[in-house]
Each structure stands twice: as structure tokens, then as C-alpha cells.
Amino acid sequence: MAYRILIVDDSAVMRVMLVDMVESLGHQVAAQADTAAGALKAFKEAKPDLVLLDVSLPDGDGLSVLREIRRASPSARVIMVTGNDQKKIRDQAIALGAKGVLCKPFDIGELTARLSQAGAPARPA
């Protein structure tokens, strides 16, 4: 079964790339957001199966969004997508319940691996 995925990134170019990769893997894009506030709103409205969540957002940081999402929905699957390949950010993301951290720049193979780690089927029907 295809996952419905919420994509959160402040970069429009990165969102286009993520949408292309997600759809080429057979999943659906449930919604897109470019801010922390937009991410929380889209999460409530679209009820995605999984969230790809950027760490740096213009109105807050993705770790705070992760905390809010997990508070609202403790079983939410979230993968952090970030250029911040810092140990402390990675550790904090996992401690807050992220299913994985995907470091930019990444290719479709790395995205597939993280989605699979988060429980998404590799080749959805």
C-alpha cells in the first residue's frame, strides 16, 4: 500500500525534488508545507502516514515541530530531512521519536532506505 507523505521544507527546489522522488517510488504526496506552522496545520488536516520534515524552517525549527507532532499523535512516523549533519541534532531527533534522519544531499536510494526503515513498503501496490 502506498504511503501518503507530508513534505515539509522551506526550499521550493527541495520540495520539487522530494515530490519527484516520493512519487517515483509509488507513494503519494498528501500535502506540502514550507513553515513550522504550515507543517502542523497540514499534519492535522491531511493525516499523512509519514512526514519528511526539514530541520531549518523560517518560523521555528523542525525538532520543535517533531515534538508537537509526536505529542498530538504518538505513533506518527517522521523522518527528519536536513543539511544539519550534527550529532546532537541527530540524537535529539531520534530521542524525540523520529524514525530516521536523512542528510542532504541524498539520492533516491538513500530515501528508499529511510522510508523502508520507517515502515514504508519499498514497492507499494
Partner: protein, 196 residues
């Protein structure tokens, strides 16, 4: 207030690690090899930094980022106009069909590329000191180097603040492109971090 020689050595070593990582990341994004042409660390008063680039009247696209506690940093990543277009074309090539009518594709791409470049460098510093550094979203502007620097230095006191400036110049022969990554930190803030 100045950095001690041991502190400068630590900083230079961390920058070397970070710069190597950044060149790899830029290479992966643009699918071409990038080399570090020059790398330097200087301590310089704000007022001098503002006049540093006055002779260069060329047009550049610059992405700036700011981080606050525990480490207050400013990053400015500068691409000459032609290089910004070459890098954008290379990074977005696999998605060219979907981005044909994309508004501000060069600014958006350079913002993202610059973010990843800056993160490569700051990651080395953050990990060394067990710190977490999260940048603001990129702000991308065009202008001369002097204009772009003035935007980054806005809230430093030109009369008294002493800054540490690390500048790394990179180039890609395949793309005939170049860029400069400039990291700026207040010397006092940096000394607090290096004292740990």
C-alpha cells in the same frame, strides 16, 4: 581581545575538516568535482571588513544564514552571477522538466546549495564541542560583495567589535564555476566556545 594561537589552530583544524566535507557535498549535489582553492582565518575589526571588498564591483548572488546560542555565527556564501547559473543548471538537471517555469529557480537553488555547504563546515565545529547549531532559513540577495557583507554585519558594532572571518574559496573546473564560503563569528563568542 584576540584568539590565542592554540585556539586558532583548533579552529583551522575544524575548518579543514568542515571544508573537505562541504566540497564533497557540493560535488554530490552538482555531480561534479569541487576543489578548495584557498582557505584562511583572520581576525579583523568590523570597520575594516566593510572596506575589504570595495574594489570588487562585480555582481554576486549571496545566501546568508544566522545562528544564535550557543554559537552565534554568520555565514555568507557567494557565487559570481555566471557561476550561480551554472551550479543551478547542474543541480536541477534531473528535474528540468518540472522546474521549467519555476519562479526564482536560481535564488531558490543557490539558497539550498549554500545551506548544505555551510552546514558541512558548521557541523565540524558543532560536533567538536557537543553543540547544536541550527541556522535560520537562507536569505538570498544579489549585489556587490560590499553590499552583501553589509547585510551580514548589520548588528555588529563597527567601532569596537572584533570578528573572526574564515574564508574558503572553491571552484569546479567542469562547470567553470566558483564560490566563496565565509564564516563570521564574534571573537568573544568564539573564545567562550573554545574555552570549553
Amino acid at each position: 581581545m584576540k584568539l590565542r594561537s592554540g585556539q586558532k589552530e583548533v579552529l583551522s583544524r575544524l575548518l579543514e575538516v568542515g571544508v573537505t566535507r562541504s566540497a564533497e557535498l557540493l560535488g554530490k549535489m552538482s555531480r561534479t568535482k569541487w576543489s578548495v582553492v584557498a582557505s584562511s582565518v583572520s581576525e579583523i575589526p568590523v570597520v575594516r571588513l566593510l572596506t575589504w571588498f570595495q574594489r570588487d564591483g562585480g555582481r554576486y548572488l549571496g545566501a546568508r544564514f544566522i545562528s544564535h546560542d550557543p554559537l552565534s555565527l554568520r555565514f555568507l556564501v557567494i557565487f559570481p552571477d555566471r557561476s550561480s547559473k551554472a551550479v543551478t543548471a547542474s543541480v536541477t538537471r534531473p528535474y528540468a522538466g518540472k522546474m521549467r517555469d519555476f519562479p526564482d529557480i536560481v535564488r531558490s537553488t543557490i539558497g539550498e546549495v549554500s545551506n548544505i555547504l555551510a552546514q558541512g563546515i558548521v557541523g565540524a565545529v558543532a560536533d567538536e564541542f557537543g553543540a547544536k547549531v541550527i541556522f535560520s532559513s537562507p536569505e538570498v540577495n544579489d549585489g556587490t560583495k560590499t553590499n552583501l557583507f553589509a547585510g551580514v554585519l548589520g548588528d555588529y558594532d563597527a567601532r569596537k567589535d572584533m570578528l573572526m572571518m574564515a574564508q574558503i574559496d572553491m571552484c569546479s573546473e567542469d562547470l567553470t564555476a566558483e564560490c566563496s564560503v565565509i564564516m563570521i563569528a564574534g571573537v568573544e563568542s568564539l573564545q567562550r566556545l573554545l574555552a570549553n
